[in-house]
């Protein structure tokens, strides 16, 4: 009986010690990015966007995500996710999938098939800005004829958007700061009433930031452009 108690006590001490070690280890882990394979695209007080590749058989360091983050998968791939305790799982990721994940996730990732995973991720910073009031005659936050809501929570709205050349452009008042990450690139034209339109080429995997509180017309100049548009609240 005494031995049993001792064993249980020992197990408890071990568990507490292990938990403490894990907790400390989690706290000390680096953020998800920057790291080798992650290229910074945009950073400001609303967020930081990275283009991230996961080469096959090259595990990332163990890391802890410091921010809530949005993501866009640029290809279909297989990813192995390993927890701190060594448990792992394999997941397919699918091209054009858009998603939102909470901060605090702690793990290591590795592509297990070719091509390795390729994503654009956007860390959402803590700063919150009230939505700008639409004082124009334009509708609010209508960016494209192809526009579909993927996520809406207290931090972001993620829209799946696409523009085709020749499609009727929509002018709208953009009430929030936003990031656009390109799933399919091309020449995109952004016009603000009263100013000359600006056309710029963006490749797949790039990202831009557009401030809120402006009327804009977004259109494609010559390609089918597909993007994840993230309104930051």
């Amino acid at each position: 009986m005494k031995n049993k108690t001792k064993a249980v006590l020992g197990a408890c001490v071990f568990m507490v010690a292990s938990t403490t070690v894990y907790a400390q280890a989690e706290k000390d882990l680096p953020p998800g990015w920057p790291r080798p394979g992650a290229a910074l695209l945009v950073e400001n007080d609303r967020g930081a966007a990275y283009n991230v590749v996961y080469p096959k058989d090259q595990p990332t360091p163990f890391h802890r995500h410091r921010y809530f983050f949005a993501g866009l998968d640029l290809n279909t791939a297989t990813i192995k996710v390993t927890q701190l305790d060594g448990k792992f799982d394999l997941h397919p990721v699918v091209k054009n999938h858009m998603w939102y994940l909470p901060k605090g996730l702690t793990h290591r990732e590795m592509s297990t098939t070719e091509p390795g995973r390729h994503t654009v991720v956007i860390d959402i910073k803590e700063k919150s800005v009230p939505e700008a009031k639409n004082t124009t005659d334009y509708p609010t936050n209508k960016y494209a004829t192809y526009q579909s809501k993927v996520v809406d929570n207290d931090r972001v709205i993620i829209w799946d958007t696409a523009w085709s050349p020749g499609a009727e452009p929509i002018t709208s008042f953009d009430s929030r700061d936003m990031f656009i990450a390109f799933a399919e690139g091309g020449d995109i034209t952004i016009a603000t009433p009263g100013q000359p339109a600006k056309t710029q080429h963006y490749d797949t995997g790039q990202a831009i930031f557009l401030p809120g509180g402006q009327a804009r017309t977004i259109s494609s100049a010559n390609d089918t452009i597909h993007a994840m548009l993230v309104e930051v609240k």
Partner: protein, 235 residues
């Protein structure tokens, strides 16, 4: 959720084409079916459906046609398509790689890709025959095909699932209650096993399709490559 919205866009495109057909009903009735036609390749044909791989070359309009069957589709690339109705009214829409959708028969229209690359799809005409769902007498769950499995559409004709398999994943075994088509968005080596028989491993390319009959227990897994597919249960 991500894929459901694309149905609405496809419907809007077809609705545009069908919006002015009433006044010219007779010519519409005489129009040919959408496929076969140049650019469409037959993949499978049986009493539950017909699958085609279809390319829409830039600047080459399809014949004006009328769909004789309700049909499902999988877009293999991101493209821009001009849809024209019988009165010549046009609209330009965007189609997105990996979009899966269901559309109704009957709306006459003509389509043409307007930018490179031209649209590329797998489409499956759903035949009128209905078959009662097979009773699951096994101890396995019904119709659990993959760990990545999301419902895209569910109506009185079909259920569309967005499925993906990664090699090395824990395998699911399930009883498949309905006949089904698989159309591949991303190919690879797919292993299909039936209890008591040796698994069959076959390579499929993106844009291919297969048919699997109902009433069987199966384990589907990837032997090589991240395999992504539209799985269509036919009711």
């Amino acid at each position: 959720m991500m894929y459901g919205k694309k149905l609405a866009i496809a419907v809007a495109l077809i609705a545009l084409a069908g919006s002015s057909v009433a006044g010219v009903a007779q010519p519409a009735n005489k129009l040919p079916h959408a496929w076969p036609r140049p650019g469409s390749m037959l993949l499978i044909d049986n009493d539950r459906g017909t699958a085609f791989n279809v390319v829409y070359k830039v600047g080459v309009p399809s014949p004006m046609h009328r769909h004789l069957y309700d049909f499902v589709g999988l877009d293999l690339n991101t493209a821009a398509i001009e849809v024209k109705d019988l009165k010549g009214k046009t609209g330009i829409g965007t189609v997105i790689k990996n979009d899966m959708w269901f559309l109704l028969k009957g709306e006459p229209h003509q389509e043409m890709s307007v930018v490179e690359p031209g649209r590329h799809t797998v489409v499956i005409d759903i035949k009128a025959k209905r078959v009662p769902e097979a009773t699951n007498t096994s101890s396995f769950p019904a119709n659990k095909y993959a760990r990545f499995q999301r419902k895209v559409a569910d109506n009185d004709e079909i259920v569309i699932w967005n499925c993906a398999w990664a090699p090395g994943q824990e395998v699911l075994t399930s009883f498949n209650t309905r006949d089904m088509f698989l159309a591949f968005a991303e190919g690879g080596d797919l292993s299909i096993a039936t209890p008591g028989q040796a698994p069959k491993v076959q390579h499929y390319e993106a844009g291919q399709a297969i048919f699997l009959p109902a009433g069987q227990v199966r384990s589907i897994r990837s032997a090589k490559g991240a395999v992504h597919a539209m799985l269509v249960e036919v009711k």
